[in-house]
């Protein structure tokens, strides 16, 4: 799950940074001449900087290979189900709310009034996809459900005083 990977990756790097700052703080009261320190650690910085840039480049290329904006390649005769989604203060209107596992779906999301956020949650209440619902524009979410169950749509962009009440249920069957 993406959320778990994000959390563990963040935790590892945050703990590493904490460890480094603590080590330096503990060594801070010793006194040494600055010039040799600068010479040594400027050299180390070149290696650290290059490593960091290469690491970020690899992650960038890896994570940009597949983007949620790209329409999937559908097989011959496999037409996606187009679902028109309209948000309005404070509810959702979907042209269809029952789907099959394995069915390719395109949610075409817009808003009648203000900005809303179309957030799709699975049965464990984890987000599986989202997009913004904007007036005058249509954003698209491409999705194929892999598990049957009851899914929920929650509003993920603050839209007024009943923002938290803006939910809708979707049923997915085998």
């Amino acid at each position: 799950m993406v959320q778990t990977v994000a959390w563990i990756t963040s935790l590892v790097f945050m703990l590493l940074i904490t460890f480094i700052f603590l080590c330096v703080a503990m060594k801070s009261t010793e006194k040494r001449d600055y010039e040799p320190i600068k010479k040594k650690w400027y050299k180390a910085r070149t290696f650290y900087g290059v490593t960091l840039v290469v690491f970020m480049l690899i992650i960038t290329i890896y994570t940009l290979r597949e983007l949620p904006y790209d329409q999937p390649v559908y097989g011959k005769g496999e037409d996606p189900t187009i679902v028109d989604v309209e948000a309005l203060q404070f509810g959702w209107e979907l042209s269809q709310s029952e789907f099959k596992v394995g069915e390719a779906i395109e949610f075409h999301v817009t808003s009648q009034d203000v900005n809303h956020g179309f957030g799709l949650y699975d049965e464990e209440m984890n987000i599986i996809a989202q997009t913004q619902a904007m007036p005058e524009y249509t954003n698209v979410v491409y999705l194929t459900f892999t598990e049957p169950g009851t899914y929920e749509v929650l509003c993920l962009e603050y839209c007024g005083l009943a923002h938290h009440a803006m939910t809708y249920q979707i049923t997915v069957t085998n």
């Binding site: 994000a6 940074i17 330096v24 600068k38 994570t63 005058e136 603050y158 839209c159 005083l161 938290h164």
Partner: protein, 471 residues
């Protein structure tokens, strides 16, 4: 000195408003955690004032930090500095009246057309009071940054020279590079003049729309302008405040921290990237040009490099085996760099498009910026307060200050991490109510927040004691 008195006023007002905004934050967390009953309208009013007040007050105090150090190198206008404070207070009063007397609650992001289309929750007067309040505050800051730009150009010849581009190009020796305060001042001038013009534009269009709903404008353009303003302006707080870290750690370690070519390139990169990366707030708007969204990810990553390779690394190097004498100001300065660095991590993770697809507008986002602001930018401001109280007022620190220092670290970290945990659990941000499975971290954060407020109160009390002693 008049300008010292003004700086104190900036810091006292900024510090007290930050403290009050923390209280609203705790009330919201306790309500989400089920420990307090708040009606949704009240929750969203608190949310609006919390965001607006925190960004405004932190920017006000940070601008005082920048003004203090920048005015040692260039001639700034005291009148404009004073005018900014007056305009801030006028704007703040309008915002408070709009929110609490006229029920205005659009969040500080006021995404068009929400200020007007509130489902009749608030009226035109509330919206206009808030929007005019924001506009007046923005005009004050715009005047201030036009003045810093004017002063830098007068001293250095151009903003490019303020960023040391002549040194980067090899036309000048490294030893003649501008001082860090001038470099940071130039960067902040460029990004904030741009941001404030974008902000003023979208606020004025919202005002016209509120008065005459027949006047409409493009919601996607409005969103771009809003984030171009909000992201850049909020981001600039840390770039104004970090000057105190350069100045203090160099003094405390008795080691020089002067600009070299790498330092100058890093600040130029920050200038460009800070202006470009606001699109990472719009990664879930697939109608945006795809290249702009990819830029949002790529340059958000790149924007981490100057701090990770230059400023944070420089902090570690200057402190390492320096024989530094730790006190509250040096301790807070060092802590703030830790907070900035550690806050970069969840920010970069969330700027990754495939991650943003499942974490955008969850509590992960406030998790990142509470860490970055609460352990970074605001701590720099506190470091400056302790520094002034010491060098200008000779005020001694007590055991209580140290207790506050360590309590602040633990509680601010707790508040930030509970947001991150909530985000990983897909808890939506800006929700007045929580399901039982979302409540635990919020309640924990609310309780930690109570102690955070106590620690912050002790910081502010120390500074107020110095101000009172002086007067």
């Amino acid at each position: 000195m008049v300008h010292n008195r003004l700086i104190k006023n900036y810091l006292v007002i900024g510090g007290i408003v930050i403290l009050l905004m923390m209280v609203f934050g705790i009330l919201m967390l306790l309500a989400q955690g089920g420990g307090l009953s708040l009606s949704p309208p009240t929750f969203y009013q608190f949310m609006t004032i919390h965001g607006t007040g925190m960004i405004g007050a932190a920017a006000l105090a940070a601008s005082a930090v920048m003004w203090y150090f920048l005015s040692q190198h260039v001639t700034l206008s005291k009148r404009i500095f004073k005018a900014n404070l007056i305009l801030f207070l006028i704007g703040l009063v309008l915002v408070i009246i709009g929110v609490f007397s006229f029920d205005y609650a659009s969040a500080w992001t006021f995404l068009y057309p929400l200020p007007t289309l509130s489902a009749k929750a608030w009226g035109i007067i509330g919206a206009l009071l808030y929007l005019f309040g924001m506009l007046i505050i923005g005009i004050g800051f715009l005047l201030l940054f036009i003045d810093t730009g004017r002063a830098i150009i007068r001293k250095k010849g151009s903003l490019a020279k303020g960023l040391g581009w002549d040194v980067i190009a090899g036309k000048k020796a490294e030893k003649d590079a501008p001082e860090p305060a001038i470099i940071a001042g130039t960067m902040v001038t460029i990004v904030n003049v741009t941001a404030l013009i974008a902000g003023a534009t979208v606020i004025m269009m919202n005002i016209i729309h509120t008065i005459n709903p027949a006047f409409t404008f493009d919601p996607l353009l409005a969103k771009n302008l809003t984030y171009a303003f909000g992201h850049v302006f909020a981001n600039s707080i840390i770039y104004m405040s970090v000057i105190v870290v350069y100045e203090l750690l160099a003094k405390y370690t008795n080691r020089s921290w002067k600009a070299n070519k790498v330092f100058l390139i890093a600040w130029s990169m920050s200038t460009i990237f800070t202006l470009m990366i606001y699109t990472h707030h719009m990664l879930m708007d697939s109608v945006m040009p795809k290249w702009m969204l990819i830029i949002g990810q790529v340059f958000s990553y790149a924007n981490g490099l100057p701090v990770l390779i230059v400023t944070a690394y420089g902090t570690l190097m200057i402190v390492y085996k320096s024989g530094i004498k730790w006190d509250m100001s040096s301790g807070l300065a060092f802590l703030s760099m830790f907070g900035w660095t550690v806050g970069v991590v969840p920010a970069i993770i969330d700027a990754t498009i495939v991650v943003n697809h499942v974490m955008h507008n969850t509590k992960w986002v406030p998790g990142h910026f509470h860490m970055y602001m609460g352990l970074g930018a605001v701590v720099m401001i506190f470091a400056f307060m302790y520094y002034l109280a010491k060098v200008d007022g000779g005020l001694k620190i007590t055991k209580l200050d140290w207790i506050a220092f360590f309590s602040y670290i633990v509680t601010m970290a707790a508040v930030s991490v509970q947001f991150l945990v909530s985000g990983a659990l897909s808890t939506p941000r800006r929700w007045a109510t929580h399901t039982p499975e979302w409540m635990g971290p919020a309640l924990f954060g609310g309780i930690a927040g109570v102690f955070l407020v106590i620690a912050t109160t002790l910081f502010i009390v120390h500074f107020v004691r110095y101000v009172c002693n002086e007067t």
